[in-house]
Symmetry: C2
Subunit: 356 residues, 2 copies
């Protein structure tokens, strides 16, 4: 099913990804409606034709929202699956679909899904108790990361372990919640492959970027990544395979560790547009936001080939407080309209391009 020009696209979530999705949708002539707890000053609410300020558990508000929309999509993966189900119950199509959300919301389900799809993950173990943690740490340690199965992002819900770590303290620190332990991987670099998949099963894949994280937060993404063409193509093929296995519609991002020998170990995937693809609108004919909108609208996907080398730099916390003239001199500037600068908060990003 293909949406007509001027149809209304709903976005579950009210952050910067929703803001950029809404702007891309508006450019294609769509009407946009956002839904989220952040209120009228949230990044997405500022640019959509209508905003529902409500929590994701508010079934009545979700129903009213869904009824104003011709299709609904999502801007972050921790929207409860029940919210997606409420949209579907109201008779409104929901992309990428609740299955992708539920898989992505649980690190253990996610890793199992990836492995069943033939996508190698870094070594991991389920941890449901201190005894599990001790056994897992003995098997995968000493360097490892304990992560909650649910609701972690940007380095939250994580405890780093090394030789001599107090495992009991780590178990308390993480809140004695269902976790996974991930063995520390001595990777050469991190990369991600972003793929758009349309309602007809057609795909468009972006060139993988090299991603630099600090403190669990993405700082910079660069394309092309310093990896071989063969590794690049493998990363893209795995992202396509994941999208196909999930019967996914829209944009997803699959993050990898690239090992010294070129092996790719999947880290995680995001069932949405992704921070590591924020360079795509500047460096490709069709950016990830436009391709996501095209996909969920049932429209043909656009070109994803690199027109430029590009580097994306996140503006995190105080970095966004630099003088405007300084920011503008450093690249193409996108700011998210957040009122308050807070440490670790993503406030905007810069993209620098240079000829291929």
């Amino acid at each position: 099913m293909s949406l007509p020009c001027g149809a209304t696209i709903g976005i579950l979530g009210d952050g910067q990804l929703g803001r950029m999705l809404a702007s891309a949708a508006a450019r294609l002539g769509f009407r946009t409606v956002s839904f989220g707890p952040g209120g009228e000053h949230s990044p997405a609410a500022q640019v959509t034709g209508r905003h529902f300020a409500a929590g994701y558990e508010d079934v009545a508000a979700l129903k009213a929202f869904a009824e104003t929309c011709d299709t609904v999509t999502v801007e972050f993966e921790n929207v409860p699956v029940s919210a997606a189900e409420a949209v579907i119950a109201a008779g409104t199509p929901f992309h990428p679909g609740p299955n992708a959300l539920s898989v992505a919301q649980d690190r253990a389900m996610e890793k199992r899904f990836l492995e069943e799809a033939g996508i190698l993950c870094a070594p991991w173990r389920l941890v449901d108790s201190l005894a599990d943690l001790e056994a897992a740490h003995a098997a995968l340690g000493p360097d490892a990361i304990l992560k909650t199965r649910r609701e972690g992002y940007d380095g939250k819900g994580q405890v780093r372990l090394s030789a001599g770590s107090d495992l009991a303290a780590a178990w308390r620190e993480i809140g004695e919640r269902a976790c996974v332990l991930e063995g520390f991987v001595d990777f050469a670099l991190e990369t991600s492959a972003i793929v758009a998949r349309g309602t007809d099963g057609g795909v468009a894949v972006y060139p993988p970027s090299q991603n630099l994280h600090e403190g669990g937060i993405l700082r910079r993404s660069m394309v092309p990544a310093p990896i071989s063409v063969e590794t690049e193509q493998r990363a893209q093929a795995l992202a396509v395979r994941l999208a196909e296995q999930l019967d996914y519609i829209g944009v997803l991002a699959l993050e990898f560790f690239v090992m010294q020998d070129g092996r790719l170990l999947a880290n995680e995937f995001a069932p949405r547009v992704h921070n590591s693809g924020h360079w795509t609108p500047e460096a490709c004919a069709t950016g990830q936001f436009e391709n996501h909108i095209r996909a969920v609208a049932g429209w043909p996907l656009g070109e994803t080939a690199l027109l430029y080398n590009a580097e994306m730099e996140n503006l995190i916390g105080e970095a966004a407080g630099a003088p405007v003239a300084d920011l503008l001199s450093r690249g193409s500037l996108t700011l998210y309209g957040k009122r308050e600068i807070r440490p670790g908060r993503k406030m905007g990003h810069l993209v620098r391009i240079r000829p291929l």
Copy 2:
């Protein structure tokens, strides 16, 4: 004065230019408010954080609008000067300023202003009566265009004259209103130069485009225009001179006839972003919408050099009703969110780029 990040920019007018200005402002992190008679479904209202649905004569609504904004700008030149004055009376800065509006709203004032600035116009005469029309036609005819002094756009408010035209009928047809008669100019091509001027007097000028009109409506703009570098630079210098003479802040467009011998005769100027610059976001580092927002915000202007050859094609009336796949295959697509396709109505545009 320079606006802080996250300030609120108001836009008088609710059409597609306001929509694209608002999207550019949002990308830079600004909040946006639109004002116009078109209601919540108007192109700009769909993408701004707040919309005032009111007429330009509604002083109370204008005051309320102005009070929500840190600065106000305009998306079309026929906003009454009194509306700009109401904004200023409320204590809110207004750019480009009421003077540029009042000059641009009256073809006679406009031509006089251009000529006093040393910018040659096509031959013209004031016409306030049938006797004036007869004298003007004898002087400038037989081929000429009778235009109302006020409120004409996209070929409206115009009557074409040739040898043997019934002047009395033309005078009735135009509504016996204050007019100018413009002698028909046997031009080689039409071009326009778009300039942004900042609060510090700094300017950024785009390369002039070749513009093709049909029925008084712009159909296509191409850059670079097939004119000499010298003619290109002259057009740019004249646009800069006009902006300086008007003490203008923001983007303006100056349209020219290019004669066979390379002479430039000014046709008219628009105190706003311009349809003939719709290729700039795709073909330059900084598009006209972003540069207008930067200018009225007191921010530094961005690069206007060509990164690509470009061609912009307006989607007028039924042209926008083509299958979406067809439109998307023909270039980078922008649609304005107008509900109803009407003959002559600008529904969107396509931009095609190719390497320089």
